[in-house]
Amino acid sequence: MINRDPHPNTLISVSNLSFSRGNKKIFDDISLAFERGKITAIMGPSGTGKTTLLKIIGGQLFPEQGSVLVDGQNVHQLRRADLYTLRKRMGMLFQSGALLTDMNVFDNVAFPLREHTKLTESMIRTLVLMKLEAVGLRGAYNLMANELSGGMARRVALARAIVLDPMMIMYDEPFTGQDPISMGVLVHLIKALNKTLGLTSIVVSHDVHETAAIADYIYVISEGKVVGQGSPEEIRRSDSEWVQQFMTGAADGPVHFHYPAKDYVDDLLSSGKRY
């Protein structure tokens, strides 16, 4: 497959991707491009497949059609060893944090270093404490993963995702569960990482304002399609109903708040029958 991407500066390009879960089509011939050194946001209603998209880019799920190129390599055709080499350069922040529960915060952040490098313990210590300091949790290094709140767990996961200094990082809902202060710190941190390290970032988020403040480019996806794209300014001025509804948070519009269901009244009246 030829890379039909218009920008030569693209680090990740998703072309003509289709993916289904059972009978449900999650992506229908979708194409996205993520520029090097930029923050690209993916927004869209809950359940549209944002997490799924990140897992496809990371090579954990296989598309039915289409391809994903990361740094010129087709993720789904790589041999296992090559895929793992590529993944060392891809950080991913899971929505749930995905910390290892049998280790404390320090060991969780040190985990990728211990697995992939031969650094001495004192160097590991320095690196880990630096990353923990960046997310404001150096003091929590001794806590076990299950002693953290959801927001703290996500920040530890962020520290872990950047500890190998990857070329790119995928954030799945980094702002969820953060208080205004740590939210501000995180927004700043994502921006700073992107600036100072030249990290290419993909941010999946519902938080319209925070995301618009840091993103260089935004994709709005819904029902398997890209329904809007552009710089935050363009998105704000977009005349697409989809995008407007999403940015303003209106309940009515082309995007449905409800998961597809049969008629509400019918459903209530037919109570007693099992599905």
Binding site: Q60, T85, K88, M90, S96, A98, L100, F111, P112, A157
Partner: protein
């Protein structure tokens, strides 16, 4: 009727595909063992949680099984005036059959179910996925060390079970029922065959350790990642291990002791 056939077809296909997944899993797991060896710490940690933590249940069970054997054996043997051979009877039953089988059943219940729940939960909380994204192969890092630990612990736990059982039989036999202590030990030493009894018992325990660890780890890895899915997987580990252990024990016994 047609429905039944269709259902049968479906479940047959499901079991074959599961068997396929299990085989593939085993191959990956075995291939991963090579990368455990340079990191003995991983193995040691697992030997502790899989093996050492099973010591207590294995020792206590071994003691009681041995004591019961001592009692039952004494009543039968004393009818023939052959109380002296109590030691042979207790030791042979333990080393050939009860040691490997009962310790494997206990191991499946104690360590196997714990392994399944642990792996299943790691899957449900995306820890395995997370590792994959950090370019760490969860098979090599998590599964293989546990498999190796289970496989190595089983013969040792079995030996522990049998030794404690033999002591239990002796406590009851000479302590309570007055069998001559020297006779208990010397008859045992004279009659027990190193190859026929001990080696065969060890072979059994190695096979059971292999199969139980495989089942436990696979069920966890293949579990539906929900609380219900994990609880079912844990049950399947115990049930499938028990069936496999008892079935294989019959086959192995027939092969080993069949022609003499």
């Amino acid at each position: 009727m047609i429905e039944l056939l269709a259902h049968l077809g479906k479940s047959t296909r499901a079991s074959f595909s599961k068997l396929g997944r299990a085989t593939f899993f085993l191959l990956q797991c075995l291939a991963g063992i090579g990368s455990v060896l340079p990191r003995p710490r991983l193995l040691l940690n697992q030997l502790y949680s899989v093996g050492v933590l099973s010591f207590l249940i294995i020792s206590i069970s071994g003691l009681f099984v041995g004591m019961v054997l001592g009692l039952q054996g004494f009543y039968i043997l004393s009818d023939f005036g052959a109380e002296e051979t109590l030691g042979v009877m207790v030791a042979a039953s333990l080393v050939r059959e009860l040691g490997p089988v009962v310790s494997a059943l206990l191991f499946a219940g104690r360590a196997g179910s714990a392994l399944t729940a642990e792996i299943g939960l790691m899957k449900a909380t995306e820890q395995l996925s997370g590792m994959e994204m950090m370019a760490v192969d969860p098979i090599k890092r998590i599964i293989s060390p546990r498999f190796l630990a289970g496989f190595l612990s089983m013969p040792l736990l079995t030996a522990l079970f049998s030794v404690i059982g033999i002591i239990g039989g002796q406590i009851v036999g000479s302590g309570l029922l007055g069998v001559d202590e020297g006779g208990y030990w010397s008859q045992m030493q004279a009659k027990l065959d190193f190859h026929d009894d001990i080696i065969n018992g060890v072979i059994k325990s190695v096979v059971f350790g292999f199969i139980t660890s495989w089942i436990a780890l696979f069920e966890g890895y293949d579990a539906v990642p929900t609380s219900e899915g994990i609880s079912r997987a844990t049950t399947r580990t115990v049930v499938n291990s028990a069936f496999s252990i008892l079935g294989l024990d019959f086959i192995l016994t027939a092969l080993m002791f069949g022609d003499d």
